[in-house]
Each structure stands twice: as structure tokens, then as C-alpha cells.
Symmetry: C2
Subunit: 336 residues, 2 copies
């Protein structure tokens, strides 16, 4: 391992990614403090509060069970806005295409983008297209940026979890990452699809029910639920205790994780959210989530405690207590 080169693990969303961001990228570009790092930036323009975010998509393969790089590039950015409590309104689309891409594949990816954008009621308003020579990219990379409007007075962010809050997870773990890996490796999926989906309407239900008592929202993408919980416990300077028996893992995900040697807690999701919600509204918020297609399997998976800052521990099904750490290295390259 050469310290002077960027490694695949630097894109994993785990420890190496955090180090690269904290030691180099964020100090160089913005100097935003870790406590203020969220899925989107909040901008004040006149009388409006806006959220602004960007994500690059390099998923391999570009078409997978349950979606494509086109739909994923819309859902991911819509969800980053939604996690700030912002209504997604406007999207940009930056394409980097490898020479030789089939026009029909491009057309189908763009159709997926449009369908996903229409479904999420976000408008694609601006874009750019670059083509690089064969061998200088891998078929297609898409970078989307989104702008949304924060229409409520609440402040939802990663440092807002409070002791006593209930931790809600909106559904099962690892569907996206495992669907991608299985598709890439030619393993049988047995009906498993990526969970890639827009989460804004689910968030509107949660905010409608819980209001200011919905303290924190975050989608557990790269690095999975484990890494995201660790990030949030650090950011909010609290301890999270989660209950393994409350986590839902599809049998196909469990089976493929066994074959691939992966822990579903660290596998990316693209249509799930974690929320920290004040205890007095948690059950009501949960009941509202159950009415929504993306929240039918939502469950309270744990509690926020005033313990050591940044600690995440899991009560295991067999009765022990397991400490949860961030993803180390690169478990799943090019998952999104």
C-alpha cells in the first residue's frame, strides 16, 4: 500500500474515504467542520432556504436488477435533498461517456432518468455531455446535482440526534449492494432487486406526523447502515444502541452475503433511510411510515443515549453486545 496513491478504498464510504475527506478534500475545498457535514448544503436565497447537493454515479454494471445508473442517479440525489427535509425540485445531469457506448443503451439509461425524475416530481433543467476516448472511462458516468426547497421551519441535520431519540430504519438491509454484486458476479438473485427508490414522499409523511420531533434523517448508502450509524453517532456526539433482532435482512441477501463474505450491515442501500425521532412521537411516525410503499417494513432499531460520543453498539440476537465500527477498506467497489 503506497500512502501517496489514491486507492479504491478511498471511494468506499468507509474509514479510508473519511480520512481522505477529512485530511485532504474538505480542508482544501471548503473547510466545513465535520459537525456541519450533511447530505446537502443549506443555502439562503432571499426569503427561501434551499438545499443543494451533488453525487457521482459510476455503478458497474450500469443496468442492474431493479434499476440502472439512470434511475439511481436521480434517486440518490433526490434522497440527499430529502434527508435535509427539502422538497426536490431541480436536477442537473452531467454525462461522461466512453467512446463506443451503444446509443440504445444511452437512450434506455436516459429514459430511466426521466421516468425516475417524473416519479419524484423533480425537473431535469440543465446538463452537460462529455465523451472521452475508448479505455478512458467505463461506458458511462453520471453526476447529478439537485436543488430543493426547505418549506418547513425545522432544522434536520446530522448533529441533531438527542439522547432518548428512537432510531428508525425504513426497511431491510443491503438489497442494493447485494443486487449489484450478484449481477456483476453472475450469481443467482432469486428475485432480489436493488431497493433504489425516491424517499421524499416518505419524508413528507414523517414530517407531517412528527414535525420538529424528527431530528435527523440520513440514507445509509456506501458503507451501509453500520458506517452511517457510526458517522451520525460521531456527528451528534452520542451513543447509539441498536438491537440486531430488529434488523430485517432478506433471505437472498443473507445467502449472498454468506457466499460473498460480506456483512449486510456494511452493504449499501439506495431506498432506505435512518431517522432519529423524539420518543413521544416515534410510534406515530412509524405508523405513518407503514402506510407508505417505502416504509412498510420500517422498524425502531435502537435508541440514542448520552454515552460516549461516536459509539455504536449492537445487542446481538444471541445476547452479547457487539461494537460497530466503520467500514474499513473497500468492501464493494463501484456500488453506486
Amino acid at each position: 500500500m503506497n500512502d501517496d496513491l489514491i486507492l479504491l478504498g478511498h471511494g468506499s464510504g468507509g474509514t479510508l474515504s473519511h480520512r481522505l475527506l477529512d485530511d485532504l478534500i474538505i480542508p482544501a475545498l471548503s473547510g466545513i467542520s465535520p459537525a456541519n457535514q450533511n447530505d446537502a448544503a443549506v443555502l439562503v436565497a432571499g426569503d427561501s432556504r434551499l438545499a443543494f447537493t451533488t453525487d457521482g454515479y459510476v455503478v458497474d454494471p450500469p443496468v442492474f436488477p431493479g434499476g440502472s445508473i439512470g434511475s439511481l442517479s436521480v434517486h440518490g440525489t433526490v434522497n440527499d435533498l430529502a434527508m435535509m427535509g427539502a422538497r426536490p425540485l431541480w436536477l442537473s445531469c452531467g454525462l461522461i461517456i466512453e467512446e463506443g457506448l451503444e446509443r440504445s443503451l444511452l437512450a434506455s439509461i436516459l429514459a430511466d432518468m426521466r421516468r425516475a425524475a417524473d416519479e419524484a416530481a423533480i425537473q431535469i433543467v440543465t446538463g452537460d455531455t462529455k465523451v472521452v476516448p475508448r479505455g478512458k472511462a467505463d461506458r458511462i458516468f453520471i453526476t447529478t446535482s439537485g436543488v430543493g426547497v426547505i418549506e418547513h421551519p425545522f432544522s434536520i441535520h446530522g448533529s441533531a440526534a438527542r439522547p432518548g431519540d428512537r432510531i428508525i430504519l425504513s426497511g431491510s438491509l443491503g438489497d442494493h449492494g447485494i443486487a449489484i454484486m450478484a449481477a456483476r458476479e453472475g450469481l443467482p438473485l432469486d428475485g432480489l432487486c436493488s431497493d433504489s427508490a425516491p424517499l421524499w414522499t416518505l419524508v413528507t409523511e414523517m414530517l407531517d406526523e412528527g414535525g420538529a420531533a424528527v431530528h435527523l434523517l440520513r440514507d445509509p448508502t456506501r458503507g451501509g447502515v453500520a458506517t452511517t450509524l457510526k458517522e451520525l453517532a460521531r456527528q451528534s456526539a452520542v451513543t447509539f444502541t441498536i438491537d440486531e433482532s430488529a434488523l430485517q435482512i432478506k433471505p437472498q441477501v443473507r445467502g449472498l452475503c454468506g457466499i460473498l463474505g460480506l456483512d449486510p450491515l456494511y452493504v449499501a442501500n439506495e431506498g432506505k433511510l435512518l431517522a432519529c425521532v423524539a420518543p413521544e412521537v416515534a410510534e406515530r411516525v412509524l405508523a405513518r411510515m407503514h402506510q407508505h410503499p417505502q416504509g412498510q417494513q420500517a422498524a425502531i432499531i435502537g435508541t440514542v443515549e448520552a454515552g460516549e460520543a461516536g459509539r455504536v453498539r449492537m445487542q446481538t440476537s444471541v445476547g452479547g453486545m457487539r461494537m460497530i465500527e466503520m467500514l474499513a477498506g473497500e468492501q464493494l467497489p463501484r456500488i453506486c
Copy 2:
């Protein structure tokens, strides 16, 4: 040539790019009509008018005389906002890095981004980093998106040129494209640098002097001044007549264009703008531009006429009239 594959020329900014955009990408994603295609989208949020734009940067080499992919990725997006008359305020940074990139090169590119952003008074507020395996990208690609605010009541767009308007070009032709090509090919530059620079403060001077009489602004990047003029003449449904003797071409650019077999009219610029300005203010706007570092060599290069829509003709130095068409094919790959 296989019609079913994407070619390098589809990224040239010329005829093939336009066809791909008009036949496939724009109808698929947005359906925005050609008359309404500008460097940025205009968004209305509460009492604010905002501009929103994105651009991908894949320039080869990533560091070149006069800048790097870092500074270029800021200037390009700042200028797309400025061409809508919007004050650039917020920038996003999406990095796609090839495994094995030297950390020191990444650090220097990010430092260039930050310096360029500070100079242009735009804040980098959000970002994303992906890493792809060796051989699946080319060192580094950067996609920036920008949000700016339109603080004046004027409407500056590509279909606003009116017969009688004077066409202003802010400086010499082709410096960026030729500096990149010479650096790539190892040709002697003889002091030539990319013209990559932010244009917002130049635009503020122009608007301050010309107000609503500044009808149209556009930066002639990929495809050069010729292709941009052709786009604008179509979009405004007018004829442009330009005067070759008013065009400024540095001797090094002329020399290298000769060696490389290129026409400087079709070579990309990254710190120049074209403007269509009402005749009664054109001289005053020009005088103000001359006071600005990026406008010292500004000149009136032609006139807008009520002729055939989309026609661009050039009065040549030897006395003839040359019809100007869009760039055909790929003159200069990966210039930005």
C-alpha cells in the same frame, strides 16, 4: 462510422454534439426547446431568481500552462452562471478519481479549485468523491454545478440578439484550446497560456454600463467562436455578419494552428465572452470592458442583422465573404 455508437465527435461541441443533444438527450431528459437552451437554467425560488448549471471536465492533460482541471472546473461553471447575468455564489464538486492517482496531484488540483473559487467569490459548499479501478477513468474527472443569483431585472439569454446589435468579443481567439493541444503534443508554447479565467466581474461592469441594452452573453468554449456564433444566430433567428480584421489571434496561436491544421475560429476559449449589445450603448460598454483585466482587448467584431435565421458570415481580410458553419466532427478532443 457506426450510427449506433457514441463517437468522440459527439463531445466536440459541434454538429455531432448538437445532433446527439437535439435528437436524443434533451428530448429524453427535459424537452427544453432549442430557443430556451442557455448556459444555465433560471429557477424561481420565493422572491429570488437563481441560475443553475453543470459542466463535466475531462481535460487532458489535467495540468496545463495557465491552469489545471481544478481551476478550469471553477471558471467554466462560474462563467456559465455569469453568461446568464447571475452572480456566482455556490459550487458543488463531484470528483471521479482513477485508482492510483498521486495524492500530491489531487492536492494541487484541489488547491487550484479553492484558489479559483476564492478569486471568483464562489463558495464550494457540497461535493462527492468516487474512485474507480485503474484503467476505468483517466486520472481525474471533475463535475461542478453552480448556483447563482440574478440580482437585476434584465433577461439575458441566447434568443435575445436583435437586429442592429453590435457583437462584442472580449479578447483573442483560441488561447485555451491551443495551449492544451500544444501541452499534450509537447509543442513549444512560446509563452502561450490558457485564457481560463472567471468573467463575472467583467459582466458586472458591462451590465452596470449597458443595463437592459446588454441582450445576450455567451462564452465561446467547445467549438470556438464560430460554433457559438452559429448557435446564437439560430437561437435568436438572425444573421450575424462579422469582420475578420476585428478578430485578434496571438501569433503563437496562429503559428500552432498552422502546425496542427486547426482554424482558430473553431478552437475553445475559457476566459472570453461574446455579447450582443444595443448599438447606442455598444461603445460605452466596450470602453468599460477595456478597463477590466479580462476585457482589455475587447472589440466589436460584427453586427446582428435581420437576415436569414441562423446565418453567420464573415467579411474576410482579403475582401471576400465566407459563410461560417458549426464545427463538424471532433477537432480537439478533451479540451475541457
